[in-house]
């Protein structure tokens, strides 16, 4: 199949091609590895490329096919994995200096599930140091550049994963999302990024210290909503190795795709998100809501109490839970943290226990408020990030000028770029970011579709209907020149 265009290829389109043996897995893998050779030196999306292992996996999968053993829709599909997910025999750094030479002897459950489903793992992707920021400007492994504009960040902390999918260096990736680390870079790179309901995807094998116990989630990146649904189906489900994983049955996610959304109710949350939206994001988001109305959805305004306390709850929860796993490094290699992260951990140690518990009580009020809102709506929508990708220089200076006003990258609430995503880490609700437009300068803008607990199928139904109507997913960054 010589006419294969890797930039346009999707998982769903390749399934029948691979299954019918019109394209060998080895050939597909080689083509993606060639593309990584060509573009990764400039983008720095992959930190480790496992070419030899990938080709070995690919040849084994071809043998499986010849023997009549097709493993399912991910058979032979090339993926990347964020570098804070354990991969057997492959260095896993978590973007840190401390783990620069750690080679796990086991796979994280998500990696194991992907492999069982027939995935080919091309390598590990760059990330923000210890997943503790949203730029993927990493002092030890370099900066991952945005495929749409190489002067700009890819977002984070899973910036390498998002960039690898946006640049078509693979067909999907797995990242982690403690405050928006899947959805934020997905938005900045114009791809799909999903954080499913808390407990939906096992977190066994994630590097401790790269997210809070109760706020972190693992999730897929893909080019289309359907591909994302195929990936979630493969990685979701109860895992005895993760005591916080759910026993809720895994739904038929692809079954929801293609169903009409006419008559469904979409909630717009008043107040909270308005503060963060730039003019460009506001314009694209409003147009997307208009598109959902055109598709027959009914818009419902929602007043959700206590949203003003979300940032404080997230801060108290994720930082305390995170630092609780950092004692060994704080004792033995504290100066191997970058200075800002070292100081942040010290500040986290100063948060009293009663504040942590109070935060969990306030969190209960917030969770109840959001869950009650789902009596009135089927999904909610919100911007993913308040403004498009900043330049690397703006991130280094700590602020950007947006619509004529100064926007700090950090303020007293934490990273300002994730203020639109943290409500769904605090509540555990499923949230998917997908492209809802571009700035005049050609930078992607993202919108979140948020569902009731374990209602990921509804996200795919609405997301797919929007994607087909808006057609933003067909745009690709120009990597040459």
């Amino acid at each position: 199949m010589t006419a294969l265009d890797l930039e346009r290829a999707t998982i769903a389109e390749l399934v029948p091609v691979i299954k019918a043996k019109k394209l060998s897995v080895a050939d597909l893998t080689k083509r993606f590895l060639d593309r990584i050779d060509r573009y990764n030196p400039a983008l720095n999306a992959f930190q480790t490329v496992t070419a030899e292992d990938a080709l070995k996996q690919a040849r084994a999968l071809d043998r499986d096919l010849r023997a009549g053993n097709w493993r399912g829709p991910l058979h032979g599909i090339p993926f990347s994995i964020k570098d804070n997910l354990a991969t057997r025999g492959v260095r896993t750094t978590a973007g840190s200096k401390q783990l620069a030479n750690w080679i796990p002897d086991f796979d994280a459950t998500v990696v194991e599930k992907l492999k069982t489903a027939g995935a080919v793992i091309l390598g590990k992707t760059n990330m923000h140091e210890w997943a503790s920021g949203s730029t993927t400007i990493n002092p030890y492994y370099g900066t991952t550049l945005n495929p749409w504009d190489r002067n700009r960040i890819s977002g984070g902390s899973s910036g390498g994963s998002a960039a690898s999918v946006a640049a078509s260096l693979c067909l999907g990736s797995i990242g982690t999302d403690n405050a928006g680390s899947v959805r934020h870079p997905a938005s900045l790179c114009g791809v799909i990024g999903l954080k499913a309901t808390f407990g939906r995807v096992s977190r066994y094998g994630g590097v401790l210290g790269t997210g809070g116990f109760s706020t972190d989630h693992f999730g897929p990146f893909a080019k289309t909503v359907k591909d994302c649904a195929l990936m979630l189906k493969a990685i979701a489900g109860h895992d005895p190795k993760d005591p916080l994983s759910s026993r809720e049955p895994v739904a038929n996610y692809t079954g929801a795709i293609g169903k009409s959304v006419k008559g469904l109710r979409v909630g717009l949350i008043s107040g909270y998100f308005d503060e963060f939206m730039s003019e460009a994001v506001r314009g694209a988001f409003d147009a997307a809501v208009g598109q959902l109305k055109t598709l027959g959805m009914k818009v419902v305004k929602l007043d959700i109490p206590h949203t003003d306390l979300i940032a404080a709850v997230q801060l108290a929860t994720s930082r305390v839970e995170n630092v609780a796993t950092a004692h060994e490094y704080l004792k033995n290699s504290p100066r191997d943290y970058s200075a800002p992260l070292f100081y942040r951990h010290i500040k986290s140690l100063l948060i009293p226990a009663d504040v942590y518990v109070t935060a969990q009580r306030v969190r209960r009020l917030i969770c109840d408020s959001f869950e009650s809102a789902f009596d009135k709506v089927d999904v909610m929508v919100a911007p993913t990030v308040g403004s498009p990708a900043q330049t690397i220089d703006e991130c280094r200076q700590g602020f950007a000028i947006v619509d004529g006003r100064r926007v700090e990258m950090q303020d007293e609430r934490g990273t300002t770029g994730t203020l639109c995503t943290i409500p769904f880490n605090v509540t555990g609700l499923p949230a998917m970011s997908l492209c809802c437009g571009f700035t005049a300068g050609g930078l992607p803008i993202g919108m979140q579709i948020v569902g009731a607990p374990f209602d990921e199928a509804r996200l795919f139904q609405v997301g797919h209907a929007y994607e087909r109507a808006a057609e933003w997913h067909g745009k690709r960054p120009k990597l040459d020149g």
Binding site: I346, L350, A452
Partner: protein
């Protein structure tokens, strides 16, 4: 708070400089103000969220059973 930072520095053997301690204390004071807001609402009848997401009471299946 400054005393706490000195104590942590000694306990962990960080040898923080005076400049570093002042910076951390100043940033921690800002953090404390954000967190103080959590104590300003009535939580008398509110139990904390503690690992509750294993089975959501309002998952689609449960909601349908209502």
């Amino acid at each position: 708070m400054e005393e706490q930072v000195y104590r942590l520095s000694a306990q962990y053997g960080w040898n923080l400089s005076e400049d570093e301690i002042h910076r951390i204390v100043a940033e921690a004071a800002v953090q404390e103000k954000v967190l103080e807001r959590l104590k300003q609402i009535d939580l008398a009848q509110t139990r904390p969220v503690m690992g509750v997401f294993k089975a959501h009471r309002s998952s689609p299946g449960n909601r349908r059973r209502k």
